[in-house]
Amino acid sequence: MNDKFLYEARPTLSDDFADELYARISRSSRSLPARNEHPFASPIAKAFAIACFILLVLFASSTEVRAQIGIMARNLARRFQAGPSHLVGNIIVVDVPPSRTQIAPSQSIQLTSIEIPVSNLDEIFASHIVIPTWAPDGCDLNPLARTYQGDPQPSAMLIWSCGIEEENWQISLTVNKAAMIGHFPTDSYEQRDLDIGQVLIVHGNWYKIGDDLEWKMGSTSIYWDRENHLYQLYSPSDRTSNKDLLKMASSAE
């Protein structure tokens, strides 16, 4: 079969095009993501960031006043007819019903946020921030972290972008220089010992419905406490398996 003509008809590829494309791809792996791909542009990430800071303001404090938090937790538990409170690591967990009235009125919180290179986080927190060194296949850590410079303490959110195009999702890591009281329904959380210490695995999240909060499954968070910092590794969907999320948390260093 004489098919030589089919090879000879191929158009010449411009060297300029090849070089420019390579440079563009190389640059993209080291620079900001495109505007429409910004990890914080997603409504889920925005909602999660807001939720984190409401939690921060409502629940957080420094470790020095942890005793007071314990008292507050018990008071809150009584107020919302919740179950007993207990400690998981340094995290105070309060058992609550899966549907309840909000624990406080919604607040409008103005926080200044800036993006900084992940490598500069230690400087902002004046301490070493541990970051997972392993991520599931197809997940890339965004080189910039969003930090919030508001009261009472700085905090930061790191994003791993996973998948491509329509099939994309994100995993986030939130770091607060604070302790936490977690209000979780019984059976929605479990305690586990990992290389990084004791962690709290929480299946589900609160969603605001009218004036009430409803607990819905689907997402997973892993909380741990290290050197007075509270870490929350969060996957908003079941696209990341619990096994992978735990492996990711275990790799934090």
Binding site: M1, N2, D3, F5, L6, Y7, E8, A9, R10, P11, T12, L13, S14, D15, F17, A18, L21, Y22, R24, I25, S26, S28, S29, D137, G138, C139, D140, G163, I164, E165
Partner: protein
Amino acid sequence: MTQELPRLRNLSNVRSEDVWRPIYDEMLPRVYHYFAYRVGDRRTAEDLAATTFEKAWKARRQFKREKGAVDQWLFGIAQRVLADHYRRQELCARDIESHSIETDFSLEQTVENARRYLKLNRLLDNLPDRSRELISLKYGGGLNNREIASLTGLTESNVGTILHRVVEDLRKQWEDDNE
């Protein structure tokens, strides 16, 4: 096709830039030629090749050797990019007009090369979509029949049979046009 190909085909991952560069050098012309035969337009072929490599770079951690060699993985992405392109443009392969290439000769490209490309595209425009896809994968992308079979869902012998028939038809038309 370079001598790098056998080594690239055995790569188990494509994550680092050290590995990426030879893959890029080897595969960009092949992916570009695949699109050039598929859409009949050099500029569009460049855009689609660029999109393919950008997606491949982002998804490089998802590459799994056990599912196929790196060239099959890249052509799988290229096929999805092409499908997206058709969807966006609301075109199908047979509707694509080749008018833009009439004035699309780059300075570097020889007139003879451009003339051959134009002539072949006129012939490819008359092919059924599946036949054009097979010709593009084989002669643009440089894939063998087995690799084409795995990308198209046809059997290897079916690919060989269709290609043989289509190439014979094209060759006759090509030679008729020369006379």
